[in-house]
C-alpha cells in the first residue's frame, strides 16, 4: 500500500467498520453513519456480510462510476446484491457492462426521454389529482399508501401498457423484493416468482398479438438486427417496474418530511411552484432514495491506498457523495436555489438512471399538486413509519397527514 498518509498511525485498521446496511440502526439514520465514514475514511471496508467496500466521498464515487472496466456492474459469481439475494438473476440493463449495456439501453432511451416524459405530464397530473380526490374530503391521509406509492406504480404500468388498476398487487410483489428480503426472505422470493410469472404471461401475449404500450413495442423492437429474447424482455420489464415504483415514492416521501419540518420550503414552493424546476435537484441531492449501488471489482487493483481484490463488492454510496462538503457548500442545508445538479442521485456515468426524467416529472407534479390543493397539511410525526431496511431504497412505509378537508376536482 502506498498512500496511507491520510490515515495516520492510530488508525491502522480505521478503514474497518462493522456497518450493516440492512440493519434497523442504519435504516433509522443512514446519512449519519455514512457521513461519519466519509470524514473518517472514504474508502472503508465493512466486515459485515462477506465483507464489502464502501465509497463515500464524491470524488471517489465519481471515479469508480467512470471506471466501469474495473468497477463492473456484473454481479460476482455468488449473485446480485450484498449479500447475494435469492430469487433474481441478472437484471437488464442494470447488471450489465458494455457492450450489452448499450444495446439494452438503446431499447428504452427514447421511451423515457425528456420529450416523451413531457407528453406524459397531463396523464401524471390527472392521475395525481384523482388520487388526491380520494382523500381530500377526509381531512386525513396516508400519503405513502394513497399517493406516493400508487402514482409511480400506476404510471409505470400505464407506460408498459399493463392494467394500472392492478397496481396494489404489483406493489406488494415489488415490496417483497425491495423491502422484505431481509425481513422474510421466503415470502419475498415467493413474491418475486409470482411477479415474474405474471410478466412472462404478459410477454407471451405481447408476442402473440400487437399490444399498445412499451411492452408491446419492446416485444417487436429490433436493435443490431435482433429482437430481445423472452428472458431479456422479462428481466427488463421486471427492472422497469422495480425502478419505477419505490424510488420515486421514497424521494417524494423523504422530501415531504423535509417540507413539513422546514416551513420556509413550503412557503417558497407555494409562492412560486416553478422553484421546483431547479429545486427538484436539491431534493434529489438531499433526500436521495437509492443510497448507493454495488459494483464488482474485475481485477486486483490498488485504489487510493487500499488493495481491492478481484470479485470484491464495492458499494458506491450516492447519498453520502451528495452530502460531501468538498462538492457542496453547507451540504446539510436544503437550499432550493442551490445549483445542485451535479448530485449523483441517479448515478453517474454509463448507468445513469433511465427513469430520471420520469421521476423528476412525477415528483414535481405530486409535490406541487399536493401543496397547492392541501396547503395546510401537517405530518403526524409520531406515526411516520420507515421501512426497516434502507439498503435498497431509503423510503417511508406510512406517512400520515391531517389537514383542512377540501374539494374534489372530479365527480369520480
Amino acid at each position: 500500500m502506498t498512500s496511507t498518509d491520510n490515515f495516520p498511525s492510530q488508525a491502522a485498521n480505521a478503514f474497518d467498520t462493522d456497518l450493516n446496511h440492512h440493519s434497523l440502526e442504519f435504516a433509522r439514520d443512514p446519512l449519519r453513519a455514512l457521513s461519519e465514514l466519509q470524514s473518517r475514511c472514504p474508502v472503508a471496508k465493512s466486515s459485515h456480510a462477506e465483507g464489502f467496500w464502501l465509497l463515500t466521498s464524491y470524488d471517489l464515487a465519481f471515479e469508480a462510476l467512470h471506471t466501469p472496466e474495473i468497477f463492473s456492474s456484473r454481479p460476482n459469481e455468488h449473485g446480485r446484491g450484498i449479500p447475494p439475494q435469492p430469487g433474481a438473476g441478472s437484471l437488464a440493463p442494470i447488471d450489465y457492462d458494455q457492450p450489452e449495456l448499450g444495446l439494452y439501453r438503446s431499447f428504452l432511451l427514447a421511451a423515457l426521454s425528456p420529450g416523451s416524459v413531457r407528453e406524459m405530464q397531463p396523464i401524471i397530473t390527472d392521475m395525481t389529482n384523482d388520487l388526491i380526490d380520494q382523500f381530500i374530503e377526509r381531512g386525513t391521509a396516508d400519503l405513502s399508501d394513497e399517493l406516493f406509492t400508487p402514482l409511480p406504480a400506476q404510471m409505470i404500468l400505464h407506460i408498459l401498457g399493463l392494467d394500472s388498476s392492478r397496481w396494489p398487487e404489483w406493489v406488494s410483489w415489488v415490496h417483497g423484493f425491495v423491502h422484505d428480503m431481509g425481513v422474510d426472505p421466503e415470502l419475498a422470493v415467493q413474491k418475486v416468482m409470482t411477479m415474474f410469472g405474471e410478466i412472462y404471461q404478459e410477454v407471451g401475449s405481447a408476442r402473440a398479438q400487437p399490444k399498445p404500450g412499451l411492452l408491446g413495442e419492446l416485444a417487436v423492437a429490433e436493435r443490431d438486427g435482433r429482437k430481445l429474447t423472452d428472458d431479456e424482455l422479462a428481466n427488463m420489464v421486471f427492472l422497469l417496474i422495480l425502478g419505477g415504483m419505490d424510488t420515486t415514492a421514497g424521494l417524494t416521501a423523504n422530501s415531504l418530511l423535509l417540507i413539513d419540518a422546514q416551513p420556509g420550503l413550503r412557503e417558497q414552493i407555494l409562492a412560486d411552484p416553478s422553484v421546483l424546476g431547479q429545486g427538484t435537484e436539491e431534493f434529489l441531492r438531499y433526500a436521495t432514495p437509492v443510497l448507493g449501488l454495488p459494483r464488482t471489482v474485475t481485477e486486483d487493483t490498488a485504489f487510493h491506498g487500499r488493495q481491492l481484490k478481484k470479485g470484491d463488492q464495492v458499494f458506491v454510496m450516492y447519498a453520502a457523495a451528495n452530502r460531501d462538503p468538498s462538492q457542496f457548500d453547507d451540504p446539510d442545508t436544503v437550499d432550493l436555489s442551490r445549483k445542485a445538479t451535479r448530485h449523483m442521485a441517479f448515478g453517474l456515468g454509463v448507468h445513469r438512471c433511465l427513469g430520471s426524467n420520469l421521476a423528476r416529472a412525477m415528483f414535481k407534479i405530486m409535490i406541487s399538486e399536493l401543496l397547492t390543493r392541501i396547503p395546510d397539511l401537517a405530518v403526524s410525526g409520531s406515526e411516520v413509519v420507515r421501512y426497516d431496511d434502507a439498503s435498497a431504497v431509503y423510503a417511508v412505509r406510512h406517512l400520515p397527514i391531517t389537514f383542512t378537508p377540501g374539494q374534489r376536482k372530479s365527480l369520480g
Binding site: 464524491y58 432511451l109 427514447a110 423515457l112 426521454s113 425528456p114 420529450g115 424546476g277 431547479q278 435537484e281 462538503p325 468538498s326 462538492q327 457542496f328 457548500d329 442551490r338 445549483k339 445542485a340 445538479t341 451535479r342 448530485h343 449523483m344 441517479f346 453517474l348 456515468g349 454509463v350 445513469r352 430520471s356 426524467n357
Partner: protein, 94 residues
C-alpha cells in the same frame, strides 16, 4: 465594449463549490465565449437543457444535440448555467 454587459454574473450569484472546472477567465475578460462539447461523455441527464433554458438542445433520446462553438453574447449567461449543471463534465469553456 459591447460584450461587457453580458459578462457580469447576476448579483448574489456565486458558483457552487466544485462547479468551476470550466475556465472562466476569458469569459470574465469579455472575450468571445467558446464551448467545447465532448458528447461521448453525455449520459442523458438532460440538466444542461433544463438549467440553460434550452440554450443546449437534446436529441430524441435526451442526449446532447448541440455542438461545439462560439456562444452569442446574449446567450452567455444561460449557456454558462447549462455548462455548470452537467454532472458528467461534458463541457469546457475556453
Amino acid at each position: 465594449m459591447k460584450v461587457a454587459q453580458y459578462i457580469t454574473a447576476p448579483a448574489g450569484e456565486t458558483p457552487d463549490a466544485g462547479a468551476l472546472m470550466t475556465d472562466n477567465r476569458s469569459f470574465a475578460e469579455g472575450v468571445v465565449m467558446n464551448i467545447e462539447i465532448d458528447s461521448s461523455k453525455c449520459q442523458g441527464h438532460a440538466l444542461c437543457a433544463l438549467m440553460s433554458d434550452d440554450y443546449f438542445t437534446l436529441d430524441d433520446i435526451g442526449h446532447i444535440a448541440s455542438t461545439s462553438g462560439e456562444v452569442p453574447p446574449d446567450d452567455q449567461n444561460r449557456a454558462r448555467r447549462g455548462v455548470e449543471a452537467c454532472p458528467e463534465r461534458v463541457f469546457t469553456i475556453s
